[in-house]
Symmetry: C2
Subunit: 239 residues, 2 copies
């Protein structure tokens, strides 16, 4: 009970004395390569086995590492898998496609192709499911995925406001709060719709769907079926 491990609530990796960095640490350092090998092995195991059949022993064997080494860094399967998958979300970008609708379609398609990968598919939902009975895991998802990816919404809004496609945020404290709520709302709508389409409905998120979705998001339900044309022209939206 003396030199016991502590879990860092931010990074989630276990570290002696609750410290994270290599600062002031004595003794043999952790192998950074082992970290990479373990996370890579975890993703590979997710692809082949899926969340349900993934085992810690299997991951250890794939990574060429002792099982005890896994438990020195992650408290359980949930946290390991979350770390293995969360980094993939940082690949998402928001290239400037010229107009808000095209930007939305672009990020939708990017997110969809990320969700099409079997490792993210199976892991993301499982981790969220576990997070409903694991407060620490919930906080970790929030900081490792949710809050990080809101950057895409914020950036998209700023661009659209600069283009004059959206009104500027109202000033003042109340205005800032409203803007924050709007960002959260839009994030939930976009990410939620894509996830639901891809994983629950289990139907493809292709260009046609992205176009219809972005049309709905921009114009609302009343404008969805208004002009006949816009959803019927399956041309590339970037042009």
């Amino acid at each position: 009970m003396v030199a016991r491990m502590h879990r860092c609530p931010l990074t989630g990796t276990r570290s002696p004395e609750g410290r994270t960095g290599p600062r002031g640490r004595t003794g043999r350092p952790r192998s950074a390569e082992a970290d990479r090998a373990i996370l890579g092995a975890t993703r590979a195991a997710l692809v082949e086995l899926g969340w349900g059949k993934l085992t810690m022993s299997d991951v250890a064997a794939r990574a060429g590492v002792a099982k005890t080494t896994l438990y020195r860094r992650w408290a359980n399967k949930n946290e390991l898998v979350l770390d293995a998958v969360a980094v993939l979300f940082d690949e998402l970008e928001l290239p400037d496609r010229g107009c808000l609708q095209a930007d939305i379609e672009g990020v939708v398609l990017q997110f969809a192709s990320l969700l099409a990968r079997p490792e993210t598919k199976t892991a993301l939902m499982a981790v969220v499911a576990e997070s409903t009975t694991d407060e620490a895991l919930r906080l970790r998802i929030r900081s490792a995925v949710v809050e990080r990816q809101k950057r895409l919404v914020i950036l998209g809004r700023e661009r659209a406001q600069a283009r004059g496609e959206l009104p500027p945020d109202p000033s003042g404290e109340e205005g800032a709060a409203a803007a924050g709520r709007a960002v959260g709302l839009i994030f939930d709508v976009i990410a939620g719709a894509v996830v639901h389409r891809a994983l629950v409905s289990a139907e493809p998120v292709d260009e046609l769907w992205a176009q219809q979705f972005s049309t709905l998001l921009l114009a609302g339900l009343s404008g969805l079926a208004g002009p006949d044309a816009p959803a019927a022209e399956p041309g590339p939206p970037g042009a």
Copy 2:
């Protein structure tokens, strides 16, 4: 290998010779009460333990039933849990609140309160996660949850069209296909947004959020921050 069990792909319950109903069956009939007890015990176990720690032995003990009885009816944990939870979704209704926006807010709040229950929370996501590597389970989710609940969207659209709030569906084969796509799209947007807000972002789906969401859905992004007033009046939407 002769009198082997078959899984019925529709109901998912195992039954001898692949038959479902009591038609032409001989021998001792299945105990309907055992079914009810098992599904109830499953929900209770989900509430107390969550998906991850739920065990078949525990469910059997709670239901006052032998473990073997469980395996005679469900092939595994996934299918049992899905059946136990799917029926809860049939409680959803769409009371006529007079206008489309109020109808949307109503169904959002209902869906949110369903997702607030610990048994649905933890089970729904877990089952979806498993379905990414289990084709049979995926089909079962589709028929037991997704397709069934689209009725709410269809009904809501019909009402709104009758009120003149939405344009009528275009006629012809192409028009019907477009209407079908629209229903799927709207379903994914509404259900996805609520699920994402409640489980991933893990923030409350309250009346304020429902109001902002329905406003966004109706008017689109451009109209979200247009008139200052509508999101600032936290009055009950039913009045």
